[in-house]
């Protein structure tokens, strides 16, 4: 198990490094940060001065090495845009995104897994149809649109929920629903498919034959096996939610890390983008790692892999 973990961690580190290098090169190609910093009023001399001040005139590899060296010491520099330490900026924005991501995935799992199980027990029933409809609708509806519909209903008509901001827990209800809704279809389909496959397996027939209760058969024997791919998927979805809640954060004015990343790209705010990409990459890595460990616990056969 220890070797398994170490191997995974080593691999994860390489992934993080590759991601940060690729993103650095892409940003480098996408436009001159000196011009973005200098703003609309700047003339050529201003831009040249800023270029020299920030060291943009150095070769790319030197700049990347410089960034990496400081990043290894947890020094992510100062945001070109806000002129505040990137670490502070991200720490402040990340809490909103983390809250939203955790709520979103919990919401998605709470709805999608039971629905998937019921749909599998009664395939082609009304509830299966409803589940199918929900998942198709979930994938088809743009999230900003869904968010605005919720705002119209709950903030304008009923006036029971605030439309924007992140001041209280009520502010997170609508964003959680919108964000979670998009993770639901995949989780539900996978649960249903997994359950259908497992329920027709020989050991389930054996379990039933030895007289185990239906609940025990479903949850102890079937779900435990069917849920394994769902755990991996949920981990990926969680990573996606933390990095990809841009639209939701924008519609509900949450000012989280996803929106910060999106805006920082437009502003050519290299230090902020680089640090955020690293953070998001680490999230993916940590969640897939946790999913592997969790799966290894659920299925002892995987521990040796």
């Amino acid at each position: 198990m220890l070797r398994f973990i170490l191997k995974r961690l080593g691999l994860a580190l390489l992934v993080a490094l590759t991601v940060s290098f690729i993103s650095f090169s892409l940003l480098f190609l996408s436009g001159d940060p000196a011009i973005a910093i200098a703003g609309e009023s700047a003339n050529a001399e201003d831009v040249a001065a800023i270029r020299a001040l920030y060291g943009f005139d150095r070769p790319m590899m030197v700049q990347y090495g410089d960034w990496l060296w400081h990043a290894l010491q947890f020094d992510f520099g100062v945001s070109y845009y806000f002129r505040l330490p990137v670490a502070d900026l991200i720490a402040e924005r990340l809490s909103v995104t983390m809250t939203l991501g955790v709520c979103g995935i919990v919401f998605a799992l709470l709805i999608a897994v039971p629905l998937g199980v019921i749909a599998a027990i009664r395939p082609n029933s009304l509830i299966d149809r409803i589940a199918l409809f929900l998942s198709v609708a979930g994938q088809a509806m743009p999230s900003f649109w869904f968010g605005l519909i919720l705002i119209v209903i709950f903030a304008i008509q009923l006036r029971i929920l605030p439309a924007s901001g992140a001041d209280t827990w009520q502010h997170f209800i609508m964003p959680t629903i919108v964000l979670g809704y998009y993770a639901m279809p995949a989780i539900m389909r996978l649960t249903r498919a997994g359950m259908l496959e497992v329920l027709s397996a020989d050991y389930i027939r054996t379990a039933r034959a030895k007289g185990a209760s239906e609940g025990r058969v479903l949850f102890k024997h079937a779900l435990r096996n069917a849920i394994i791919p769902v755990v991996s998927l949920a981990a990926v979805q969680m990573g996606f939610m933390l990095g990809g809640s841009i639209v939701v954060e924008s519609v509900f004015a949450l000012h989280g890390a996803g929106y910060l990343a999106w805006e920082s790209i437009g502003r050519n705010d290299l230090p902020t983008v680089q640090a955020l990409i690293l953070v998001f990459a680490l999230f993916y890595i940590v969640f897939t790692f946790l999913a592997d460990v969790l799966n290894a616990w659920l299925d002892p056969r995987m521990r040796s892999a």
Binding site: I35, A38, A42, L84, P142, V152
Partner: protein, 504 residues
């Protein structure tokens, strides 16, 4: 496009379902939305409209320009005289205090001017400050500002972007500290700043009796809400009292409902096509030919752009400056919409079947697409490329854009030098590189005689129009939407002035 249709229908749905919104008049707090995350409240370290709005609330300039008439009167200074072409002596108002209680004196002016005018300190809006060389204290309430060269537009800048900071505090806190906890003399004090997200102001009870007048509304709570639809929803749900920069189609629907006050005002921003007349992108590019540039000017239906897309108080523009700016002469050659003539001119230039060109834009995709259709109609086949602002600017500076859709807002400086001189003095953004224009602008920019300035701006602008270096098209406008409880008359410079707002 899909997004537009969908958002349009959400707004419509919101309109049908909305009840009556109520302002937060009861606790004297005006709630306003910003769309953009402001980088820093320190006005020398942001280049955003939102920054100008906060600057006018928190700080004061030495001089005040009436937003309606443009007339100058004393603000932090009470009197001023030009001692010579480059020395402006100002008498300062006595008895003014900063929000932290420290008195306002000549030292504050000297420190602020010396700090921001020093390029090494990195003020981002260099153009607003780099005309000043330094300041000199004469006595406690008299100060001299020395300009690098004769700079007749000085009063315009001193009443606009240049505001005075408290010397001791600024020396200690620096731009970062000033951005997080701003201190000024202005009609509003800052209660709290959450960078980019939220700004809370309260009325300065000790504000001096200046031309801005005392603020009427006690508190201002500004939140950044990036999505305009969410802003409108918050207006409906009674969580916001005032929004601005509302797109014209949304503003029209809001106005039809009757429960909100919708005001439209012009801005100084001008949209124009820049053409590579100097042949920087390619010495043989079609835009080096006068007939081609004139054809582009004739191909654009300015009235239609204004009437159908921009609406409101936008106007067709024919000059390389905004008509209200000092020196922006309007007696220049105007190119009426005439696609037939455009085709003839192209034929004369040797392009009877038109030609293909790259066409760049960085904002307002709809307008850019309308422009491409006008150009395509006369035979100029556009390879349209929408870029991020900084990426396009990069190409502009390297002279790699044969044709691009640009806009310029002049930082609300009501002087033609803020626009025409920015682009036609052989800088890296100058695609004309016309020595005759440069000579005229040099005189106009540095003469202290207003009549001489006017005359030379006119000659320069006439030559620019005759040579069709640009195709100026239109001015922008903005919509202000507020609940019925808020009374505010917007000005043509796109600056929200909280101190002139009142409750109804």
């Amino acid at each position: 496009m899909k997004r537009r249709v969908l958002t349009g229908s959400v707004a419509a749905l919101a309109l049908f379902s909305a009840g009556m919104a109520h302002a937060d008049k009861s606790n004297d707090t005006l709630r306003v939305a910003f769309t953009k995350e402001l980088e820093s409240v320190d006005s020398y370290f942001n280049s955003a409209r939102e920054g100008v709005v906060l600057q006018r609330a928190i700080w004061d300039g030495l001089i005040y320009a009436d937003p309606q008439t443009g007339e100058y009167s004393g603000n932090l200074a009470t009197d001023w005289t030009w001692i010579d072409d480059t020395t402006l002596e100002l008498k300062l108002r006595e008895g003014v205090t900063f929000h932290d209680g420290s008195p306002f004196t000549a030292d504050d002016v000297v420190y602020t001017v010396d700090f921001v005018a020093n390029e090494a300190n990195g003020a981002v809006t260099q153009r607003n400050v780099n005309w000043m060389d330094h300041a000199k204290k004469v006595d406690e309430h008299t100060v001299r500002i020395i300009t690098k060269e004769p700079f007749p537009a000085a009063l315009e800048y001193l009443s606009g972007p240049v505001s005075i900071y408290p010397s001791d505090y600024y020396a200690e806190a620096g731009p970062t500290g000033m951005g997080l906890k701003p201190i000024g003399t202005g009609p509003y004090k800052v209660v709290s700043v959450e960078p980019g997200k939220r700004f809370v102001l309260e009325r300065n009870e000790n504000y001096f009796d200046g031309p801005k007048g005392q603020a009427q509304i006690g508190n201002v709570d500004i939140r950044t809400i990036p999505d305009v639809n969410t802003q409108i929803a918050e207006l409906f749900s009674g969580q916001l009292d005032l929004i601005w920069q509302v797109p014209s189609d949304q503003a029209e629907r809001l106005e039809q409902m009757g429960q909100f006050t919708v005001a439209n005002e012009s801005t100084m921003r001008v949209g124009y096509l820049a053409m590579d007349a100097a042949g920087r992108s390619d010495p043989n590019n079609p835009f080096t030919k006068l007939e081609v540039r004139q054809a582009v000017n004739h191909a654009i239906n300015r009235e239609e752009l204004v009437g159908e897309l921009l609406k409101g108080k936008s106007i067709p523009v024919h000059t390389a400056c905004f008509p209200s700016q000092f020196g922006c002469a309007q007696d220049v050659k105007e190119y009426e919409y005439d696609p037939e003539k455009a085709r003839e001119l192209l034929a004369q230039a040797g392009y009877p079947d038109g030609f293909a060109t790259e066409f760049y834009a960085y904002r307002d995709r709809e307008l850019a697409e309308a422009i491409t259709s006008y150009l395509n109609a006369v035979g100029i086949r556009t390879d349209f490329k929408m870029l991020q602002y900084s990426a396009l600017r990069d190409l502009n500076m390297k002279g790699e854009t044969p044709l691009s859709f640009q806009t310029w807002g002049s930082f609300s400086v009501n002087d033609a030098s803020a626009m025409v001189s920015q682009y036609f003095k052989h800088g890296e953004l100058d695609d004309a590189r016309d020595d005759a224009v440069l000579a005229e602008l040099d005189i106009a920019d540095s003469s202290t005689d207003p009549e001489v300035r006017k005359e030379h701006y006119r000659t320069a602008l006439q030559r620019i129009a005759d040579q069709a270096y640009w195709a100026p098209m239109f001015s922008y406008n903005t919509n202000y939407v507020s609940t019925a409880e808020v009374s505010y008359t917007p000005t043509a410079d796109e600056v929200l002035r909280f101190h002139t707002m009142t409750w109804n």
